[in-house]
Amino acid sequence: MISISNLSVAYGAITALDDVTIQAPTGAITAVLGANGAGKTTLLRTISGLVKPRSGSITANGHALIGERPDAIARLGIAHVPEGRGVIAEFTVEENLRLGALGAKTNVTSGLEEQYALFPVLKERRKQYAAQLSGGERQMLALGRAMIANPQILLLDEPSLGLAPLVTQDIMNTIKTLCANSGLTVILVEQNAKSALKISDFAAVLHVGKSIAVRPAAEVAADESLRSYYLGMAE
Amino acid sequence: MSGTFKRLAWVLGGLVIAMAIASIQSGTDAANLTKAGAYFIALVGLSFLTGWSGQISIGNSGFMLVGGYAAAFWTLHHPGEPVVISLLVAIVASAFVGLVLGMPATRLRGPYLAGMTLAFAVALPYVPQSFAVSTLGGSQGLTITPLSAPQWFSHLFDTSTTLPVVINSRFTAMVSVLIAALVLWLMSNLFASKLGRAMRLVRDNDVAAELVGLHLGRTRAQAFVVSAALSGLAGALLVMVSGTASPSTYEFGFTFSIALLTLMVLGGIGSLGGAIIAALLGVYSMQITTWITNHTGLGPTSWVSNKLPNLAPNMENILFGVLLIVTMIFAPRGIVGLVSGLRQKLISVTRR
């Protein structure tokens, strides 16, 4: 369970998040939707400690996160796959995965085995540099590197960015499976509302720094006004 | 300030300084002032490069060497010609070297540039020492008749009470301060000019500079040329006054490049007023150091100095090293920045 209350963040004079309150229940996928510049990335960066908020509180499984360093937050079991995946291009696939285990101090050997079983393509390419992977493979590597840390909470920033629709669908299904199998709490930030809503249990919408609704995903998907105004899903 | 008033202020300020110099009693003080003028010009040269165009150089002593040798060489072969020509020759020669070094340098960023200029400054003294020994004098260097006070100047003073040496020093001090004032005036105009604005844009945001159509390389190279020309002028001035240009001249070695960088940072990077403070600081650093050590219980008779007899001669560099580090971390805009910060605070307090 991750609970964000009255969170406000500003970069200098520019307000990025304004009194945002969002709850993401344990074992569920909560989508945070919104247009470019709505503050979605800032929200995740604040949760993982990269951005210091002006006010508000964030608690994850009973731990207050604000004021903690990013690496300490990561070691609490909160994995953050940043925008653009954040795989280290100069490292091989295996080095990237090992790094995930080293950071979280989990067992490297068994972790590698698990992730290779989950993502066979990573095993095939384990000696290749991450720079040589396709976009979808990089996203799998980023997911694998996050999962090798045995997290309880997974923060995903635009996993569909730059991916073809079929690949996006594939990645989304993987996320759904991961969540169902391990009781993971997921916050999924997406501009691609349609694909995100398909796999999410709950959804919140951010609009210019304010949170508008935290409701079951199906309700949000059916809400005509949200669809056309904020999500750009007019069909 | 209106134009006329500004001009009047310059003239009055010049007169006050001239009268002050004319009344200096000690030859050492006058000689120090001469040096301060040259240091000011060299500091403005460095400050222009680093503070305005954002390029760092630890090699400006090399340009000073080029200017100094060019002036000495010209004077040696054209005795009796006006000093101004020697100085112009020095400016042209060092500007040319600045262009040659500036071309590859403009493609380099921060540390590469700093290292390359440092290597230039370290290697350059070997040139007159090893090459063309017959024309450049090898390790002895070149010796010329130093600048001396003309008849009309000496007549202004009572030669029965004032030593000719002192009159001479007063004359060189006046020449040096005059040239420094000229540089100050030129550079303050340059700052407001199109080139000055281009420099600042290149420093602050090179992408934006390119978008508005500025040629980055050319603007950076121009900064190098201006910086080299000023350094060369400073080197030439020192040589014309002292009468010698040699590979071992303090101002021509890479340690002086480091000293220049230190002084510039202490005064305030990119500030003309800071350069004046820094020049005086450079000339009087020994006296300042002695004063500080004597007033902090580190003087020659103290316990520490008994333990470490070699401390005193190194005190200056220890102090400057510490000051440089502390300044950069806590007051990166130097003395000028501190003063203007203090003034801002005072203004805001009085307005409240």
Binding site: D71, H80, P82 | A114, L261, N317
Partner: protein, 299 residues
């Protein structure tokens, strides 16, 4: 036949030049390590190494043997460099590019002055564990002595250690990650700040080895003994590319050999100038170094 080769003038120059070149490469390696970890060019690398070499080597006056003195230098070198990073370099990350350069120049001035105040400018000559008389081959001297062989071996051993540490250990993986991608590393739970300090510490220990090895040269141990070596090390690192440890070693050896040949066949005063000319030419051809992969500059 073999005897002829071993005592051949050019072969001797190459051997002698390579032994100095490996040391240049070692100095270059320190610069590369610090640069890769924190994007700071440590202008005080030479004086820092000199300072800790003094601290270790002067223990030999108190009946400490050479090996222990060298270890003291390395340990102090590690701690001193790490402390420097914590106290004066950390406040400067994310500041303008020139700020750390200026601060390290200040460190340069400060350390040389303190060393001169404590130990004076008169060189000291630590007793080397090996003879500096060149090996003989059929009555003629070869290009190497037991001492220069030891110097090469020490430098190569340190480089191998660093290469293995960075490329084949978990710690090395973490160190490289914090240098390449500090933010991602933090998100993975790495204590990046601590790892960067460790990176500086390792560079400091490597620098101490360079200092100890150089103090056994004929010039001995003096406050400015590493100034020239630093310039050459920088030239090697810049030609090789500040991101490439192997490039630093190769160009270090190259510079050492070229300078030895110039010394022997031409004039020792020209050697430094040639090194600078090499640097200028190399930087004009490839401003990012010869051994680094071409990559877009980050805006």
């Amino acid at each position: 036949m073999i005897a002829n080769i071993l005592t051949n003038r050019i072969v001797n120059d190459i051997a002698g030049g390579a032994s100095q070149g490996v040391i240049i490469g070692l100095v270059a390696l320190c610069l590369v390590l610090v640069w890769r970890a924190t994007r700071v060019l440590n202008f005080a690398q030479g004086p820092m190494a000199m300072f800790v070499t003094y601290i270790g080597m002067t223990q030999m006056d108190h009946h400490v043997n050479f090996w222990l003195a060298a270890v003291i230098s390395m340990v102090v070198g590690f701690m001193f460099s790490a402390l420097t990073e914590i106290v004066i370099v950390k406040p400067l990350y994310h500041k303008a590019e020139i700020n750390p350069i200026v601060v390290m120049v200040g460190m340069f001035t400060l350390l040389e002055a303190i060393a001169s105040a404590i130990w004076t400018n008169i060189p000291r000559y630590p007793t080397a564990p090996y003879s500096s008389i060149n090996f003989q081959s059929s009555g003629n001297p070869t290009g190497l002595s037991p001492l220069s062989t030891f110097q090469i071996a020490a430098a190569l051993a340190v480089m191998t250690f660093v290469a293995v540490l960075f490329n084949y250990t978990s710690l090395g993986l973490k160190l490289r990650a914090s240098a390449l991608a500090p933010e991602v590393s933090k998100l993975l739970g790495l204590r990046v700040s601590r790892l960067l300090t460790l990176g500086w510490g390792i560079a400091g220990a490597v620098g101490a080895v360079a200092g100890v090895v150089i103090s056994l040269n004929p010039g001995g141990l003096s406050p400015n003994m590493l100034d020239a070596m630093f310039i050459l090390g920088f030239i090697a690192a810049a030609i090789g590319g500040l991101d490439s440890p192997l490039g630093a070693l190769i160009s270090g050896v190259g510079i050492g050999v070229i300078m030895q040949l110039i010394n022997d066949y031409w004039n020792s005063n020209y050697a430094d100038m040639v090194a600078v000319v090499l640097l200028v030419v190399a930087l004009m051809l490839r401003p990012q170094g010869i051994f680094t992969k071409n990559s877009a500059r980050r805006v």
